[in-house]
């Protein structure tokens, strides 16, 4: 195997969908098959590359070998008021800085895998194919960029690209109420982004500032590494109280401000995750968007929220995270139980799955709130696992809808007779979702709760209740769909075509792989989770 570090492999992964986008734009617009083929190829290449990356990834070394940094925006600031201090330059820099570590790499693979599968699942897109695949590929670049970006504003830009692309994908190709769903999506997530931007601006203005003593230049940096370094360095300006430096330090970040920034980040990413009171938009999206898009939305986009929460909230503000862990755990518990209870009452299969997503994201929060290595591992494992499972389930929903023209539970039933294959996969997906051992859902839930029992046993105890409820609503939904008397209308429908079966098999295979051999993922996670926690416990928290 050649050395991947010689190539700008991350940029290649990032740019491939964009090249695909250009190809799609050049193809004639009525050639659906050509367009889909182009999109599938453009999503398969990043998949292959990211798997290769995973194989090549050296767990001990971390991802530093693949980082790419280039100057992107260097804005000189007016320094006339600083002239008396002998400042030679005063700049604001954002970098094109991409990198991976054990936290982002699994999510990158999840992204490339699910988008490739969603590209297969797009056979039932019925109009404006060219625009569909263009936005689809842009969305992939956006999501990959979110997971790779190591500069706050680069991250923000990719985050907003996913917002814009999703708006179009929901609003044009969704079901009847698509425009309202798209609108609600953009307002809620726009609010989340705005709050995130405020938090980032506060961060750059305080923790992003450092003085290069040798050249006596003042720099505001958007770089994640710089901000992390400054926050952990007790002699950095951000950590010096004004009275330590003779009365004035505009870059000092007080305890209150740290808490404020942390909470801003929790709300910003909590909207995306979604944490309980902010979840209504995502129900609409699950219910109204095209199934291929919901695969991506439920499978990947919700994960961006959790990723941001870990990367910016917990890693940069561990003390605050620890102080607020009880709140996070309570919110997680609320998500878990509320989602499960309401899912039980739903009459619409898509909404059952939507509430199930809320419930499962609760487990992620619980794992984070455990605030130990096992809990964090569990949370990340749960992210990947839920991504695969919900993508699989919505893939099936899409195939069902094409045949039955409805996904209302009361009108379905007995589909196992006419569609044994799809029904079998649905059952398997349902079992994975309720956490059957041997499938990936189990490992994520198990690790998260195991971690939580260590630190907050009461909440963990209640959470087990949620796991039981999951089994109840999931089995109810699956049973109502596949067993019982069949409607005559559905007797003649055909089972899955090859192009539909293929992504189902692939996703199920990954679910089983992670369920049977969790070490495939946990080995990678372990080192980076340790890497996240070690400096926190040693330098910031006093041992």
């Amino acid at each position: 195997m050649t050395d991947l570090t010689d190539l700008p492999i991350l940029s290649i992964i990032l740019v491939t969908p964009l090249i695909g986008l250009l190809v799609v734009l050049l193809l004639p617009k009525h050639r659906n098959r050509w367009l889909q083929t182009a999109a599938i190829i453009a999503t398969l290449i990043p998949l292959v590359l990211s798997l290769w990356l995973y194989a090549d990834y050296d767990k001990h070394q971390g991802g530093s070998a693949y980082g790419e940094q280039n100057a992107w925006v260097e804005v000189p600031l007016n320094k006339e008021t600083q002239a008396s201090n002998g400042v030679t330059s005063y700049t604001l820099t954002f970098q094109y800085d991409v990198g991976i570590d054990g936290l982002s790499l699994p999510l990158i693979i999840l992204t490339t895998l699910i988008t490739a599968m969603a590209a297969f699942a797009s056979i039932y897109v019925k109009k404006r194919w060219k625009a569909f695949y263009a936005w689809f590929l842009l969305l992939e670049t956006g999501v990959l960029g979110v997971f790779m970006a190591r500069d706050l504003f680069l991250f923000f830009i990719f985050f907003e690209i996913t917002l814009i692309a999703m708006y179009f994908l929901i609003g044009i190709w969704g079901y009847f109420n698509r425009e309202r769903a798209a609108n609600q999506f953009v307002i809620y997530n726009g609010l989340g982004s705005a709050i995130m931007l405020i938090a980032f601006i506060l961060l750059v203005n305080t923790a992003g500032f450092h003085i290069d003593q040798e050249t006596s230049s003042f720099v505001y940096s958007g770089s994640y590494a710089d901000i992390f370094r400054n926050l952990t360095d007790p002699s950095a300006w951000v950590n010096l109280a004004p009275d330590q430096v003779g009365g004035m330090n505009p870059f000092h970040m007080s305890d209150t401000m740290q808490t404020v920034i942390f909470l801003l980040l929790v709300v910003a990413f909590g909207i995306k995750l979604p944490i309980l009171p902010f979840h209504t938009w995502m129900l609409k999206v699950h219910n109204e968007a095209h199934p291929a898009i919901v695969m991506i939305h439920s499978g990947i986009l919700l994960k961006m929220g959790a990723y941001g929460l870990i990367r910016f909230g917990i890693v940069l503000f561990p003390e605050q995270a620890k102080d607020w862990a009880v709140v996070l755990a309570s919110l997680g518990l609320a998500n878990l139980l509320y989602g499960a209870l309401v899912a039980f009452r739903q009459t619409e299969l898509k909404l059952v799955l939507a509430y199930s997503s809320i419930s499962h994201m609760g487990i992620v929060l619980l794992g984070l709130a455990a605030f130990n290595e096992i809990g964090l591992q569990g949370a990340i494992f749960q992210l990947v696992s839920h991504g695969l499972i919900s993508a699989l389930l919505f893939l099936i929903v899409g195939s069902l809808y094409e045949r039955t023209k409805t996904t209302t539970l009361s009108e379905l039933g007995g589909l196992a007779r006419s569609m044994p294959f799809i029904s079998g996969i649905l059952l398997a997906g349902g079992l994975a979702s309720l956490g059957l051992p041997g499938m990936s859902g189990f490992v994520g839930e198990f690790l998260s709760l195991l971690g939580l029992f260590d630190t907050q046993p009461w909440i963990a105890g209640f959470s087990v209740l949620g796991v039981i409820l999951t089994a109840v609503y999931m089995l109810r939904a699956v049973m109502k769909t596949t067993f019982g008397p069949i409607d005559e209308r559905y007797l003649a429908v055909k089972d899955a075509r090859l192009i539909e079966a293929l992504p189902m098999i692939v996703l199920l295979a990954f679910i089983l792989l992670l369920g049977c051999f969790p070490s495939v993922l946990t080995d990678t996670l372990q080192y980076s989770v340790e890497g996240i926690f070690k400096p926190l416990f040693s330098s910031r928290m006093g041992g």
Partner: protein, 521 residues
């Protein structure tokens, strides 16, 4: 302090940009009279454009002359590279020149837009005037940016205002246009009166109309006549507030923008607003700035705070009142109110030790605002021509009828709503960073909130363009070539600023220096 030296022949060279505009204006009036009726008046438009570009050439030449390569703005400041004419009442410096470049490019694009739309507009009976009146209006804006003296400032303001009153009313066939012109004359007249009233008070307490005398004269005047200084400043702010169309002085804007010919709406939204902001910028940093930041309560702090409040009000009121707007030009007018708020922020947060980048932020956002607004108005002219009205529903199904124009409009809307990858995003980002670095956190929050509210109506336009189909009128939208050029110049530049904002910011920083170019000496 500054001895009055009459203009010499040599000095007129420094005034070349303004003189060129005046000369071309006079020549075109005569040409219009002499040309037979049957000759198409678009020739006048092209000649006006030539005049603007010639003037632009002079400005750039002057700038290159004043900023030899390899010399930083600070060194230039030490060398005293500022040309001060007529006892510092007229300044040729980088502040003025940068803004003149923005105004001239903006007006050139607007003339091109007019060439595409006005030729076919039956309601405009005097097509030639439509073009050549833009020249003195622009000259007025340029004078406002360059003036170092309240009287010169007022002359520039009136030159700009009076010509734009006429321009607003040029659609003689339309009652809306007449109504708009009348409203604009009345509110504009009130604004001028306020400005003049405020100026007279400042003159009364300081004994000077020259901005150069204010730093030394104002502190004494403030101790002697506290109330009068307040009256002077607040009347000036109110007067300019009307010109800027910042809330609560914005009520005229939707009506006037709606009634005016669309290129003139764009002119009011960008050039007139920019010129008034430029005047406020220089005026406050030569006067109120020297009465601020000290340990005791001073009028300057209050003036800057009042400006912050106006900015916040403009952002919130502009966006909230645009929510239910169904008419595209009224919508853009109200979005212009919100943008006036954003543009006021860098002026109002003042200069502190850690933050003195105000002008770069202001100029960058002004450029981004110019591009996205002129582009959006150009698209409105295209829509209005094909559908016969300017309602938002005219945008419906634009994607099917003119996909490229829809794509360009998408860029403008993303830029207006401050989303990447556009100039509007970085413009807002720089302003937000500036506001945060002086710890004006409440303002940061208001900017962010109003931006999110604005998504609602901006994305409403996107919804019309891309998600609705236009059932009964499947007519093809034809884009006149010149309008297409305007749209695509604006779209390309907006995206370019959105990908690489660095070069423009860097250039502004190298030529501009607060001490040399903003303060009047």
């Amino acid at each position: 302090m500054n001895e009055f030296i009459p203009l010499t022949w040599h000095d007129t060279l420094y005034l070349a940009p303004e003189l060129v505009l005046a000369a071309v204006f006079l020549v075109l009036i005569v040409t219009d009279l002499l040309l037979p009726q049957r000759v198409n008046r678009s020739i006048i438009g092209w000649l006006s454009l030539g005049g603007l570009l010639l003037s632009l050439g002079f400005v750039i030449w002057r700038m290159m002359d004043m900023n030899p390569s390899g010399v930083s703005a600070e060194e230039a400041a030490q060398a005293g590279q500022v040309i001060s004419l007529l006892g510092a009442s007229y300044l040729v410096d980088d502040y003025g020149n940068l803004l003149k470049i923005i105004f001239l490019i903006g007006t050139s694009l607007i003339v091109l837009m007019a060439l595409g739309s006005t030729q076919k507009d039956e309601a405009v009976t005097d097509k030639a005037e439509f073009y050549y009146l833009l020249l003195p209006a622009t000259a007025g804006a340029m004078i406002m940016a360059s003036s170092g003296n309240l009287v010169t400032l007022y002359i520039g303001l009136e030159l700009l205002s009076i010509t734009s009153y006429v321009l607003v009313g040029l659609r003689k066939g339309s009652t809306l246009s007449a109504e708009a012109a009348f409203k604009y004359v009345v509110t504009g007249g009130i604004a001028s009166a306020f400005v003049l009233f405020g100026m007279s008070y400042l003159y009364g307490v300081t004994g000077s109309v020259s901005l150069a005398d204010f730093p030394s004269a104002l502190p004494q005047a403030f101790t002697d006549y506290k109330a009068l200084v307040y009256v002077g400043f607040f009347f000036l702010i109110a007067g300019f507030g009307i010109k800027i169309a910042a809330a609560p002085f914005h009520a005229w804007a939707p009506d006037v923008y709606q009634g005016a010919p669309t290129p003139i709406s764009a002119f009011l939204a960008v050039i007139a607003k920019g010129a008034a902001l430029a005047a406020v910028f220089r005026f406050l940093y030569s006067s109120a700035f020297f009465l601020s930041g000290g340990s005791k309560d001073q009028v300057g702090d209050d003036v800057f705070f009042a400006l912050l409040v106006i900015a916040a009000a403009a952002m919130l009121i502009g966006t909230v009142s645009a929510l239910r707007q169904k008419q595209s030009k009224r919508l853009l007018a109200l979005s212009g109110v919100a943008n006036a708020g954003y543009l006021l922020v860098p002026i109002a947060i003042s200069v502190t030790i850690v933050h003195s980048n105000n002008f770069s932020e202001f100029a960058f956002y002004l450029v981004a605002y110019l591009l996205m607004n002129v582009g959006a108005f150009a698209v409105v002219t295209v829509i209005a021509r094909s559908s016969g009205h300017e309602e938002l529903k005219g945008f419906s199904g634009l994607y099917y009828r003119a996909p490229w124009t829809a794509a360009a409009m998408l860029i403008f809307i993303l830029s207006l709503s401050g989303l990447p990858i556009t100039g509007g995003f970085f413009g807002k980002l720089f302003i937000l960073l500036g506001a945060a670095s002086v710890k004006a956190y409440w303002l940061v929050a208001i900017m962010a909130v109003s931006t999110v509210i604005s998504y609602y109506f901006y994305f409403g336009i996107i919804r019309q363009m891309f998600m609705r189909s236009n059932g009964d009128e499947e007519d093809v939208v034809t884009v006149p070539a010149v309008t297409g050029v305007v749209i695509w110049i604006c779209a390309a530049a907006t995206v370019a600023l959105g990908i690489l904002p660095g070069p423009l910011m860097k250039w502004i920083d190298t030529v501009f220096s607060i001490q040399a170019d903003l303060f009047v000496r």
